[in-house]
Symmetry: C3
Amino acid sequence: VAAPFITLTTDFGSRDPYVGIMKSRILQRLADARLIDLSHDITPFRPEEAGFWLWRSAPQFPPGTVHVGVVDPGVGTARALLAVRAGGQLFLAPDNGLLGLVCQAHADAEVLRIERQALARAGITAVSATFHGRDILAPLAAELAAERCRFEQLGAAATPESGRLARAARGKAGEVVGAIAAVDRYGNLLTTVEAGTLGHLRQPVVTLAGRDFPLVATYGAARNGAYVALVNSFGTLEVACVCGNAAEGLSAQWGATVSVHETQAELNGGVNQL
Amino acid sequence: VAAPFITLTTDFGSRDPYVGIMKSRILQRLADARLIDLSHDITPFRPEEAGFWLWRSAPQFPPGTVHVGVVDPGVGTARALLAVRAGGQLFLAPDNGLLGLVCQAHADAEVLRIERQALARAGITAVSATFHGRDILAPLAAELAAERCRFEQLGAAATPESGRLARAARGKAGEVVGAIAAVDRYGNLLTTVEAGTLGHLRQPVVTLAGRDFPLVATYGAARNGAYVALVNSFGTLEVACVCGNAAEGLSAQWGATVSVHETQAELNGGVNQL
Amino acid sequence: VAAPFITLTTDFGSRDPYVGIMKSRILQRLADARLIDLSHDITPFRPEEAGFWLWRSAPQFPPGTVHVGVVDPGVGTARALLAVRAGGQLFLAPDNGLLGLVCQAHADAEVLRIERQALARAGITAVSATFHGRDILAPLAAELAAERCRFEQLGAAATPESGRLARAARGKAGEVVGAIAAVDRYGNLLTTVEAGTLGHLRQPVVTLAGRDFPLVATYGAARNGAYVALVNSFGTLEVACVCGNAAEGLSAQWGATVSVHETQAELNGGVNQL
């Protein structure tokens, strides 16, 4: 049987040995884990950004994958650590909104608050005040992936912090309202608007910061420098600048509202005739 | 038998999960692939830079290695994807100049245009409009490395785009003329001039942007702050600033011409006597 | 038996293929090595920073781990390469201060100067003038980890360069004096002061650049924006800004002196009464 996947999504950056040390802890407990770095450059203090990427990336991994998310400014305080089972995969993270989108997206998500006794049973006892990613989540991910530790026994059911991002919802006029959830390396603005929520809209137009953008099929469908909206390879709406940087060009802020509505052809026509 | 190597060279950066998701696709099809990141910080819109590194790095890998290059501003347009067999290794990339140097460097390079039917035979069918690295090249690399898919059957022979870099050539006066192909982390200017092309030059001098630089054996051969040229560990000429940053100090541009010629001892002597 | 760990700590950055090529060399000689990147963003020309991370990270790895450090501005000059055995692990690096702290920290550290003949016996013969990490240290790490090459036979005993960082020491008045050894991604200032050297101090206060900082247990113990000192998860003292960037806020320099002393309660009381 193939080795289990364990993914890592953190705000640790790649300058320092923090990620390497988490990997050491995992591989010492599960020598053949298939470790995948999703991102270590999540914006500090923005756990929901990590959660957005986990929500959209998880379907790219097989059942049984264990995802570890560490954006944890509250480490050392009383904040809980969560274990979530959803869509046949496991997610481990602080209870600070990081797993809000993942839990929302799965009606059958099981959410447990990880208890100290469960960690002790898994042989996880030496815990620092400042690096729970290394001391708790990394070894726990290995134990779960190795099936030496059972999800059901990690703790009691809990209600997760929802965080500052929510799945996009349909408004009264039929428009779909979401938010900018991440800005990628190219300056593309990824949103919480899922492709599947747009089916009722004919000729959809995307509004961000007071400007309208056409919905196109590919980057190649518009001239260089044009701003467009498209459904990206993660199945969500994104606003991009063809061969340019939309985040810079639009001065768009993380969390800003994005809405999708039908083209109001008559009104536009009227305006154009002035 | 040892697991096959698959290398990745992209402009995806390391901030976003794009690389991790390509690795997931590869490892789901070939669990023991030895994945090597060459670079994920190729300058966007500069596929030839990726190709330069692939050309110079490939000899550092064993026969049978599959190299994947993704710098793909044309994704979603009609640009082709290429498979190249050269030097006992395979290369997969968009047909946008990325594989120009690799093809030039191997007289026996076989170049195929990847066809949709070949992908379908390999079980590669769900293809997005914006992420062919994930949806086509990653799974195809795994299938080729696993020898479940044969190179010869990928498509018809094609002539690759040559791109904006060429191997350095000997000019009329015996000088060798190349170009800056990459700038590395230290600001060293790597060029297309191969060490093997310089054998006919006695006391070679390197000219870049109107300035001459001596050819030395190692960085340690000159004082700190001096600009020198040397044959680097990739077997090409580079211009460097000892303990400094040549790219900043010389304001050198990617693609700029670099030439190597013999010291004109008499002329220099004359000048010095003035 | 589980595959050996080999860690890499360099100043190569992640833009260029240098790290990937070292990994190729290692994996071609030891296919199942567990490669761990500790950092590739060590400040160029600062080998002691790499050594600090190796010193503090090594206990996070199992016995038999081979650590490779490459910050090597002197490559191509007469500087030696060292092999060190300490704490049941091996360390390979240039003799430029990189392994100073590791050697200081282990009274029984064995230090050998790697000899050309030993390399030849290990099949390491084609050596460039500019990339000893690839041509010597990577293959040697693989040979040592694979136990095809014995540490004792690498060369003669040597005295390592100590470098610009030393373990913190106790001063005449009982204070403990160390230095800033690394600045991490969050701007935390990591020092050479080990937790174990502070036991004799009641109510310790940390002084850096003329300012005093309280020693707290966790980041969460102070308000946002406050500067605090704490013992981090690596067991050394660090100065941090809660939810902020201490390096920027304090304009702290690498190598600057940090001292820890007892609160002078009476004096402070007197001052406060003025």
